[in-house]
């Protein structure tokens, strides 16, 4: 049984903050597919299209028949530990700092034998569940978990290293006015977040959920993502104890290009959805990236809430979709820029929501704030990079992957007549 992690003591101001170190990052191009699946929480391996043999490690030609037809396929997670070892010495800084480290070989039910990190609660030669997780370098690795959940298993050092668990961490919700702020607060509290801050733009305008946020113990502090000075000010105040940042700021209006006739709302969309993200990242990013090895409540994740319209323009929210595509691209740059620090960037894509009034004329299905909040927390606990929340987002993702042009054509149908 895993010992539960105690809330961390207050930081000793005389001790230097530890610099982040990383496990090896280099992989073959083939192995990147394992990472790509892990980024969504899937465990995937190649299965030969000719002879059906499941491959491990990832490769360019089948180990059995040399076929190069090696499509990736999600695998059943069952397996049995064959052998294990506990490493007490390593030339890699990352592992030296985390000794002893347990790993082993696991015979997968799917066929091959794989190398995996072993959870502390896995007995010798036991049945295990294999999962693919992203490590501090953002690469997929395999972990073997006990066949059944064990008490406090998420507190195992391995799990903390391969997740962005909000437990004991301090979270900043960037826009308290977001229709999702309250549901996020409740889900984060339930997941054991130590503190929740919320940025409040335009405190001179009342909004109904403020009282509810206060009742949940949220520290409401002034910040408007369109106001650089306010973002810098809040980062100066709480940037050093922001472990998870969830960017809930979003400006949404219907309309494309021709039906608007001006650039007013488009400017607001870019100011909030694109430049707002950039301002937040410039103000909070460096401090968070410097604190990714800061113990139990280290900085760990940057979360973006994005419309699935970022993938393919979604009418009638054409201009908004464009701002989401820009923001999505910017999150990819952020990932690259945060990469060496180990700070995770998690994107949560979702379709029309129940609680945002601008989606009111759209038919169901719509995502509820509580479902979105659950998806955010679950994604953090599993250390994901990409989360697809709700049927519409998942459908768009699947159609995009099948053929982006077909999707575009379907999403841009015209009416009869002219």
């Amino acid at each position: 049984m895993t010992q539960p992690i105690a809330p961390p003591p207050k930081k000793n101001p005389q001790v230097r903050s530890q610099s982040p170190t990383r496990p090896p990052e280099v992989r073959s191009r083939a192995a990147m597919h394992l990472t790509a699946a892990a980024a969504e929480g899937r465990f995937s391996l190649q299965r030969c299209g000719e002879c059906g043999v499941v491959q491990y490690p990832p490769r360019d030609a089948c180990g059995a028949c040399l076929s190069t037809d090696l499509p990736w396929e999600d695998m059943p997670e069952g397996g049995t530990v064959l052998a294990e070892t506990t490493v007490h010495a390593s030339p890699r800084l990352y592992f030296r700092e985390r000794m002893p480290w347990r790993s082993g070989t696991v015979q997968l039910d799917a066929g091959p034998t794989v190398l995996a990190h072993l959870h502390g609660d896995v007995p010798r030669h036991a049945r295990v569940r294999i999962q693919a997780r992203l490590d501090h370098s953002g690469q997929g690795v395999l972990i073997a978990l006990p066949a059944q959940d064990t008490p406090n298993m998420e507190d195992d050092p391995l799990m903390r290293a391969l997740s962005a668990d909000p437990k004991h961490r301090r979270v900043l919700i960037t826009d308290a006015r977001s229709p999702h702020a309250l549901a996020l607060t409740r889900a984060l509290r339930q997941a054991g977040a130590a503190m929740i801050f919320a940025g409040e733009p335009e405190g001179w305008r009342p909004y109904p959920q403020r009282a509810a946020l206060e009742a949940e113990g949220v520290e409401i502090l002034p910040m408007d993502v369109t106001d650089t000075i306010s973002v810098q000010k809040l980062a100066g105040e709480i940037g050093g104890k922001t472990d998870i940042l969830i960017n809930t700021a979003q400006f949404l209006r219907p309309g494309g290009v021709l039906d608007r006739g001006d650039t007013g709302f488009a400017r607001d969309e870019l100011e909030v959805n694109y430049l707002g993200l950039m301002r937040l990242a410039q103000a909070f990013g460096p401090g968070m990236a410097a604190r990714t090895a800061d113990g139990v409540n280290s900085a760990i994740a940057w979360v973006n809430l994005l419309s699935a319209g970022a993938l393919c323009n979604a009418q009638p929210f054409g201009s908004f979709s464009a701002s989401q595509a820009g923001a999505y691209s910017l999150t990819q740059s952020l990932r690259a820029e945060f990469r060496s620090s180990g700070l995770r960037v998690m994107n949560v894509f979702f379709g029309p929501t129940e609680d945002d009034s601008w989606y009111q004329p759209l038919p169901p299905p719509r995502v509820t704030s509580s479902a979105l909040a659950r998806a955010v927390v679950n994604g953090l606990q599993r250390g994901l990079e990409d989360v697809w929340c709700g049927d519409i987002a998942m459908d768009l993702r699947d159609r995009f992957r099948r053929d982006p042009k077909v999707l575009e054509r379907e999403m841009t149908m015209g009416g009869e007549g002219a």
């Binding site: 001179w204 305008r205 009342p206 408007d224 106001d227 000075i229 306010s230 001006d262």
Partner: protein, 258 residues
């Protein structure tokens, strides 16, 4: 000594005080809020271009952005549909002499303290005239409410049924225009109209009648409590924006020490 030389000497000696009636342009200063499907008034924003650093080693400067109607600002006749055809109705066309003129300050601060929807009515104006004389033609009429001392949410005072702040009745505005031929009307609130001004007929009577008659508006003024009821001269020159319907500006009041 010429009049102007005398004027300059009096300012230098302090016998004429210069009072700033302007709020600081601050990103967090409230602006008027319209229903969200309408276009909105841009807040004041400031982005650093360089600050004696690699972006410009010896200088600091900012790019700023805002609406014509952000902060302490001037409303030109072309701001309102009733004033769309007023000749010389845009800020760049108005005779610059109109930007300097005398001010009558009607103190409504007691009423506004008791009633956030306090109305400036014709009887209130007549009462003021009994004490201070008839409002001269060409005057700025400033409605003092001490509203500028409010900060944060109480400034707009937005409720579920809209904002609540003092302002003039349609009759009072008609009176000031038709009977007194004023230059313009100035307030400490976010608009020349009351917070609930959309419920008058016509809606927003101060905007509708003032601008239709070629008169001007001054909004988000502060420091009106430092002015005498009569005798102050306002200097209120908007930026020369081509076809501008208004402009942030620095409003100065010249007050003679007596």
């Amino acid at each position: 000594m010429s009049t102007l030389a005398d004027f300059a000497a009096r300012i230098a000696s302090g016998t004429i005080r210069v009072v700033d009636l302007t709020h600081t342009l601050d990103p967090d200063f409230p602006v008027i809020i319209l229903p969200p499907e309408f276009g909105q008034c841009a807040r004041f924003r400031m982005e650093e271009i360089s600050a004696y650093d690699h972006r410009g080693p010896a200088w600091k400067w900012h790019n700023i952005s805002m609406s014509e109607h952000t902060g302490t600002h001037f409303d030109a006749p072309s701001h309102w549909i009733s004033g769309r055809d007023v000749p010389r109705g845009a800020v760049d066309e108005i005779d610059v002499a109109d930007f300097i003129g005398p001010a009558c300050v009607i103190d409504c601060s007691d009423g506004a303290a008791q009633n956030e929807d306090f109305e400036l009515t014709v009887p209130v104006i007549e009462e003021w005239e009994k004490a201070h004389g008839k409002i001269p033609a060409g005057s700025w009429v400033l409605m003092r409410t001490d509203w500028s001392k409010r900060t944060g949410a109480p400034y707009l005072n937005m409720k579920d049924d809209g904002p609540h702040s003092p302002g003039p009745t349609p009759e009072a505005i008609r009176f000031l225009i038709d009977q007194r031929n004023i230059r313009g009307f100035g307030v400490e609130t976010v608009g020349t109209d009351a917070g609930q001004g959309s419920h008058y007929t016509p809606p927003y009577p101060a905007h509708y009648y003032l601008h239709g008659a070629g008169k001007y508006g001054l909004q988000c003024l502060t420091g009106l409590d430092a002015l005498p009821p009569t005798g102050a001269v306002l200097v209120a020159a908007p930026l020369k924006i081509k076809n501008g319907t208004g402009s942030p500006l620095r409003v100065l009041a010249l007050v003679e020490n007596t």
